[in-house]
């Protein structure tokens, strides 16, 4: 099964700036999900985008999906110090195949 590759691996920005992280993958997917992880513990589901969707919003989060390029991006607008965390994309190929997680982007928002 495939694993998403995320870039950058680490990102440091000032509070108020926007943060963009990307996820690329190799084979077709049913949907793609983004998660946040604080302090190396449980992940929190942020947003799910289906393969027939191109863009989705949730509060300050904007996710895009380009199935022709096999890539997705997560944009966090007007970042806050509390957004400091690791962000992972997860690939769902559908059916009973397991969901696999990307390598993660470590975001630091400096107050």
């Amino acid at each position: 099964s495939q694993q998403g590759e995320e870039d950058p691996q680490a990102l440091s920005i000032q509070e108020g700036e926007n943060a963009t992280m990307n996820c690329s993958y190799k084979t077709s997917i049913n949907n793609l999900q983004w998660y946040r992880q604080n302090s190396g513990r449980g992940l929190v589901h942020l947003i799910l985008i289906r393969s027939n969707e191109r863009e989705k919003h949730s509060g300050r989060l904007r996710v895009t999906l380009d199935t022709s390029k096999k890539s997705s991006s997560l944009l966090i607008t007007a970042s806050r110090a509390a957004d400091t965390a690791s962000y992972f994309c997860a690939l769902d190929s559908g059916g009973y195949q397991k969901v696999t997680f990307g390598t993660g982007t470590k975001l630091q928002v400096i107050p």
């Binding site: 998660y35 190396g40 009973y96 696999t100």
Partner: protein, 113 residues
């Protein structure tokens, strides 16, 4: 329950001992996953249960690792003869069938000394 519950939250064990980690998924969630996460790294898939189907054990790193799930309820992950490289956070997640996000537990931090 309201969320996925994992126990214990922390476990320190001596090398060579067996450990058992527990995961209580959200009621009604048919899918249950175990992942391992070493310090500063991504999630490593271990095993996947989906309803009454045969589990996908393809991620278990060795025969020292095993997991069980009774129906759509509690799952236990057992590590026999623990080694220092088993030290990691073990995360459990559950979800509904079909395309939906996962709910993760807070994990069990295992330290093998």
């Amino acid at each position: 329950g309201a969320g996925v519950s994992q126990s214990p939250s922390n476990k320190v064990t001596e090398k060579g001992k067996d450990v058992e980690l527990r995961c209580d998924p959200i009621s009604g969630h048919t899918a249950l996953y175990w992942y391992r996460q070493r310090l500063g790294q991504g999630l490593e898939f271990l095993i996947y249960f989906q309803g009454n189907s045969a589990p996908d054990k393809s991620g278990l790193p060795s025969d020292r690792f095993s997991a069980e799930r009774t129906g759509e309820s509690v799952s236990t992950l057992t590590i026999q003869r623990t080694q220092q490289e088993d030290s990691a956070v073990y995360l459990c997640a559950s979800s509904l069938a079909g395309p939906s996000g996962y709910t993760f537990g807070s994990g069990t931090r295992l330290t093998v000394v």
